[in-house]
Amino acid sequence: MTEIYVGPSDRGAVDGHGPATAEVPAVPDPPRPTKEPPVLIGGPPPGAAILDAQDACAWFGDHLVLEGVSLVMPAGEVTALIGPSGCGKSTFLRLLNRMHELVPGAAMDGQILLDGDDIYGAAMRPQQVRARIGMVFQKPNPFPAMSIKDNVLAGLKLSRIKCSDKDALVEQSLMRASLWKEVKDRLDQPGGGLSGGQQQRLCIARSLAVAPNVLLMDEPCSALDPTSTRRVEETIEELRGEVTIVIVTHNMQQAHRVSDRCAFFLAEENEPGYVVEQGFTQKMFEDPDDPRTLDYVQGRFG
């Protein structure tokens, strides 16, 4: 197992260490043609990545909450995790970037492969994993002590990534999160002064600034009004192809609108959660194999 990324000079070479990354181009593809695309030094390797969970299990203490989840989240696609509350969707999402282990007493089993490398492998540090796999939380959580601009750049500061042109990166990240127009005149004001929907898009911009390969979204719109929800969905639409997105949502219409693939989680009373069915979103919503999936997506339970 090799190191994941070392520096700017041999980025292309390092990318070739896993079978799935062989096709990833060495030169980063700018997400949006700007005049001078900012270059990140010391950040994640460019491009979207495949996430592949194999037989993942999760415990809180002695309590098994997730059993045998195998799910492939293809590069650049949007995968939605749906299912009733308490069935382990969020736990599974937090397994994917090693946030699960931050809970005292939490444990896991199985493998999570990021472009073929086990993120729980001995050569991986959690910080590296989390820099490559960003996360947007249910509740908007911009850093209150920082300005809007500093919030966007927080990831660089926190994980010691260098950038050639910080102003361009701020603009690019806020553009991708479709927040630029609203805040471009007040980048120095505190991030806490924005509305809830703007704060959530600021958090998305913050996650995007470090150019992650995967973006995890844990019910990103559950605290937002319909207009803000639409803006976030537009952002997801724009990111399709550039970043692998995994989104947990309780909103069936949203899952239908934004995702390419779906995984339906279910848990019986006091039993661990598992994946009932997974596949292309269209099939899951129109002609699922399992009757429980049909009941759930049509709103008959859950």
Binding site: Q127, Q128, F137, K139, F143, P144, L158
Partner: protein, 374 residues
């Protein structure tokens, strides 16, 4: 109408007590008189309101009166203390207090002669050094208690709690016994001086600051730490770049409250700084005065002018601590919130003086301020 009822009830209760204690019996002293009169007043007021407005209003008025009385009982000794020190200290206080020491002053000279500059300098130096020692230690301990998952947290927390409850004279004794007695012979740094006083103050200041900072760290939402970690940061970097900046105003408040508390400590200084009547600006060599020691020294003396000097010192110390508390309040206020708070004047209907009812008014009629950003 309530005020009239209350006044009438008060008058009647006092009159009744006067009748009972001064006319029919031999009296029970002024304290007993007013105590009985107060409870008679409560009863009279309750019954009068019960008759006028019913049970619910009577209980409400009774509780209002009880709450006000409780507030006055708590406030009176406090205000009394401040006024007492002011009355006693102000005549002895002159501008010279801040520019002169006790150099060449004999006890028979008036209280306004000489001053306490040496004590002010000593207090500032001792408390300043103590803060330099205990703020980093206290902050690191608070971070250890709140941001790590070590198994040692529980014992450390118990230890910090025990330390904050320790009598302050013990901390002075501790420095005296462990540093001054064995080491003073060979090294003047470990003799009676301001630095030893700072060490003794640190022993009591560290737990105070640690507890206060731990409380503000606990107020930082867990979501912010998760957000930082999810960006690929280490725990240490999250604490340094996210948690501490978010809690910065709270940390500053904790530091100033620590200073304010330690500035008034006398006991740890008795056998460390020792006290000195002249200016000694060097905290690392020789006995040094401080405001509490200054007060302690003069208030014990039998001469009126000396006692007045002590009260002048007490007044200066009180004002100093009051200033520090005021600074703590200003620093501790959340500036972003204070700026945002802007009230919209609600247009009241002219006839009733009440806000217009919402029904039949789809758009609330708010009188917006003419300029957007004052």
């Amino acid at each position: 109408m309530d005020w009239i009822t209350a006044g009438a009830a008060a008058a009647s209760s006092v009159a009744l007590c006067w009748l009972i204690f001064s006319v029919f019996t031999n009296g029970i002293g002024w304290f007993g008189f007013w105590l009985v009169a107060y409870f008679v007043f409560l009863g009279t007021y309750f019954v009068a309101t019960l008759d006028r407005l019913g049970r619910l209003a009577a209980v409400d008025r009774l509780m209002t009166v009880a709450a006000w009385s409780a507030m006055i009982i708590v406030l009176v000794p406090l205000v009394w203390l401040v006024i007492y020190v002011l009355v006693k200290g102000l005549p002895a206080l002159s501008l010279g207090f801040f520019t002169h020491t006790q150099k060449g002053i004999t006890p028979i000279q008036p209280a306004t002669a000489g001053g306490g500059l040496h004590a002010i300098v000593g207090t500032l130096e001792q408390v300043g050094i103590a803060l330099l020692i205990s703020l980093p230690l206290g902050t690191m301990t608070a971070i250890f208690l709140n941001e790590t998952r070590s198994r040692m947290r529980r014992p450390v927390r118990i230890f910090v709690d025990a330390m904050s409850g320790m009598p302050s004279v013990v901390s002075g004794l501790f420095i005296y016994a462990t540093l001054i007695i064995p080491l003073a012979k060979d090294n003047s740094l470990f003799g009676y001086n301001g630095f030893m006083a700072s060490l003794a103050l640190s022993v009591t200041m560290m737990p105070t600051i640690c507890r206060a900072i731990e409380v503000v760290l606990r107020l930082v939402p867990a979501g912010l730490r998760e957000a930082g970690l999810a960006l690929g940061s280490s725990r240490a970097k999250v604490v340094w770049s996210v948690v501490l900046p978010t809690a910065s105003s709270g940390v500053a408040t904790a530091a100033i409250l620590g200073i304010a508390r330690e500035a008034g400590e006398t006991a740890p200084l008795l056998f460390t700084a020792f006290g000195y009547n002249l200016m000694n600006a060097n905290p690392f060599s020789g006995p040094q005065e401080s405001l509490p020691l200054f007060i302690y020294r003069f208030i014990r003396e039998p001469l009126a002018s000396s006692i007045a000097r002590g009260f002048a010192g007490a007044l200066v110390l009180m004002v100093l601590i009051l200033l520090l508390f005021a600074i703590a309040r200003i620093v501790g206020r959340d500036r972003t919130k204070a700026r945002k708070r802007r009230r919209l004047p609600i247009r009241r209907s002219p006839s009733t003086g009440a806000a217009p009812p919402a029904a039949g008014r789809p758009v609330p009629q708010l009188a917006l301020p003419s300029q957007e950003n004052p």
